[in-house]
Amino acid sequence: MTEGRTPIVALTWQQVRYQNCLFWRTPVAAFFTIAFPLMFLLLFSVLFGTEEFEITGRGMFSVAQFYAPALAVFAAASATYTNIGVGTAIARDEGVLKRFRGTPLPPWTYVAGRIGSGVWIAFIATVVMMTVGVVAFNVNIESSKLPAALVTFVVGAACFAALGLALAAASPTGDSAPAVANATILPLAFVSDVFIAMDNPPDWLTAVGNFFPLKHFVRAFQDAFHPLVESPGFEFDHLAVMAVWGVVGTLLALKFFTWEPRESASGRRRRRRRTGGSEPSGSE
């Protein structure tokens, strides 16, 4: 028998490690977060070639200098938004959240574990992407702009973590969460210059891209590696948009988050049959 409360810091750390452990034990999540964006990097290098071109006064650069940061942002956004949203919605529907709610675990500690783990995995995905970019595609990193890259990463990852919690709260069931996640993040990626920077897109498409936070994440992070952007390279207008979306996500999550599993349509049918249709009861 052990006496004494586990310190709150240790509990939070344990929650982060627990979520990390679950992530790495779910190969499909690890694949889509880490390997999938890397495949785009390889694909783009085949499509666009790896030849270098000269930027006057700055030296030689490859196209990967621009799309590696964009894909790193995409990886970071799916590590936070998709993983946190889908994972939390599934945990809710499986009754894991309800079980924790009946224990002394302070509820925010669970949420902190989700966010901490999501941001950590996003960090790994980003570092992997940029490292492959540097090693295989000659991406150039200026150390004087790394603080800007790091700050952009932290603000962007926090923003998409908050939106992930909002996604979990908004998803009617755990089963539907991946669909909702993909149906939102993928189209958004196309209008946010993640895959291809469009020449002369229609105005409304630009407007949609500017409205949502992903494009601002991409631009701010790209600029931290852009040869023509002077150090320190902070893009406060982009950071501000992400911060606002982070607050919006947090508010939505707070409003709609539940710890109880949501009943699926099939569950309601089962119940009606069992009670003979006359006595709908939410109790058992």
Binding site: A10, Y18, C21, L22, G95, G102, T275, S281
Partner: protein, 299 residues
């Protein structure tokens, strides 16, 4: 101070009254079983006591506090085994116990809990590889890892085979001998009979009977069913002078058992009638339960 004290508890879901005025008192160290059909309000009641749901009216005190507003200190003293389990499939049994154990100030060693719940062979197995019964034992293990004073067990052995059920009963009996208070809901009358100090039958959102498993619904009032094969010759005395059933047996419910039975055996000796297959049956807990819930449903 009582472990649980409930007065006039009411819970409605929209227009449906799930719980319609329940009073309940459970003393420390008691094993109390709540019996009732599906939809009777068992789980709703228990979840209000656990702090999972808010009530509409009534007074509730669990371990001296109101679970609706109680915080971490309250949850450190209770253990909950929910009806539907949610454990992360990718964790091992031991990892789950370490994860949840760390939440309690007075935690039991994971290995000890694994052993007493009979999961030693599965300690390193991932949850997803366990059978339904084994998962239920993990639920039980997680419910007691924090060494709680009060344990809620919502249908703890549903879906168990008989030997697994016996083992769980032993475990629950051991918890009782440690002085834990246990509130149990179950469908199984033998489970209530075996484990509970007191039982209450809940139907239609109210408690229709309460007592010990042996006295519930007047089981000790002397009433019994007397049955025997009707002898070929002769006619037994009242109240046994009724037509036999299709199987040739006379079956009569009697109130004053000793006197009535005396009348019957005296007649049998005199007539030299063998009372083949004579049985005297007290109503089982199940009989009483079925009758009580039938009455409550107005059949």
């Amino acid at each position: 101070m009582s472990a649980i004290r409930v007065r006039g508890l009411v819970k409605t879901y929209g227009a449906v009254d799930a719980v319609r005025g329940i009073d309940l008192t459970i003393e420390p160290g008691e094993v109390f079983a709540l019996l009732g059909p599906n939809g009777a309000g068992k789980t709703t009641t228990v979840e209000i006591l656990e702090g999972h749901r808010q009530r509409n009216a009534g007074e509730v005190e669990v371990l001296g506090v109101d679970p609706a507003t109680a915080g971490r200190g309250f949850r450190e003293r209770i253990g909950i085994v929910l009806q539907t389990s949610g454990i992360d499939r990718e964790l091992t049994v031991r990892e789950s116990l370490l994860l949840y154990g760390a939440l309690y100030p007075r935690r039991r060693p994971a290995d000890e809990v694994i052993e007493i719940t009979g999961l030693s062979e599965k300690a390193e197995a991932r949850i997803k590889t366990l059978s339904g019964g084994q998962r239920r034992r993990v639920d039980l293990a997680l419910g007691i890892v924090g060494d709680p004073d009060l344990i809620f067990l919502d249908e703890p052995t549903t879906g168990f085979d008989p030997s697994a059920r016996r083992k769980s009963w032993e475990l629950i009996s051991n918890l009782r001998s440690l002085g834990k208070t246990i509130l149990l809901t179950t469908h199984y009358m033998d489970e209530a009979q075996h484990l509970a100090d007191r039982v209450a039958v809940i139907a239609g959102g109210v408690i229709v009977a309460e007592g010990t498993p042996d006295t519930l619904g007047g089981r000790r009032d002397g009433g019994a069913t007397v049955a025997f094969r009707l002898p070929a010759a002769g006619r037994p005395p009242a109240p046994f002078d009724v037509p036999a059933g299709a199987d040739g047996f006379v079956r009569v419910e009697v109130k004053d058992l000793a006197a009535t039975l005396h009348g019957l055996t005296e007649w049998a000796l005199r007539e030299k009638a063998a009372l083949d297959g004579l049985t005297v049956t007290r109503p089982s807990l199940e009989d009483v339960y079925l009758q009580l819930t039938r009455e409550a449903e107005g059949d």
